[in-house]
Amino acid sequence: MTFSTDLDRRFRDAAVQLELLDAAYDTVASPVGDLLVAATRDGLLRITFDPDPDAVLERISRDVGPAMLRASRAIDPIRRELDEYFDGQRRAFDLSLDLRATTAFTHRVLDELARVPYGRTATYGELASRAGRPQAARAVGMVMNRNPIPIVLPCHRVVGASGDLVGYAGGLERKIQLLRLEGAML
């Protein structure tokens, strides 16, 4: 039996409109590969480069609840801003974020991270100082590694003290690509 895509879309739209979802998600195509983007009613919850969406979805389900559906309609505003960013038309994101699953320290570090401007870099140590824990460069590295919302929270702009790129949870290639896009690297 064929399943009507129209019927399917109507159900997904209704679920969003009636605000019945703990989280909605969709795939967003980008120059750094397909992104899995998830959002709650409170805001953007997760961006991942992860090729295994099932594992990601199960983790999200544990964090916010199992009422999760692929629903492009809910993700469209985020998709629009990401598209603009990758087109070089947007330097800052204007999106509310849902950081409920993070600890106080992580939250503070991510707040500071969000202030690192487009096309600029900061070191792990600098970020640690700004978050009030100058000795915690290593812990900041950990926070970057587990950043729930890469690209929008720009952990690609954080580099080692000597200017080395050090690492990126999405792979160093992507970090270089994003910094080039922003004109921070030639």
Binding site: M1, S4, L7, D8, A15, L20
Partner: protein, 154 residues
Amino acid sequence: MMEAVSTIPPFETFYVEHRTEVLGVLRKSLGSQRAEDAFQETFLRALRAYGRLTHGEHLRAWVLTIARNVALDAHRRERPGGELPEPVHVDGLPAAVELAELTDGLPDTERRAVVLRYGYDLDYERIAHALGSSPDAARQAASSGVRRLRRSMR
């Protein structure tokens, strides 16, 4: 971390797994046209109740029960006081089918409560969702259904 006995899958997984069967069942019962509204209603009801599930077992039986209730409601709206439609047929659950014959004479709510409890082995929380009532009311319906069956067998 301890793994739960049967975790509840993300709704997407549950929906994709059962949507074709649910639509088929509703088409048989209501015809293609009306099945589409009933389909939407079935999965919206399931979505509303999904966060209150305590485990991920019997999800197929659960959603087929919701579909059946939605179909019944549609028939009632159409022909108040008229005949009930053919019951939605569920494969692979002989206990429930056997029980269905036994329970045919019961009032509707009691019959559904008894079948879900003893045929599908659902807990009262789940039965309450399917019936659109409280767990206490579901328990009461099941036990008065059983009492009525006992009396009728004497």
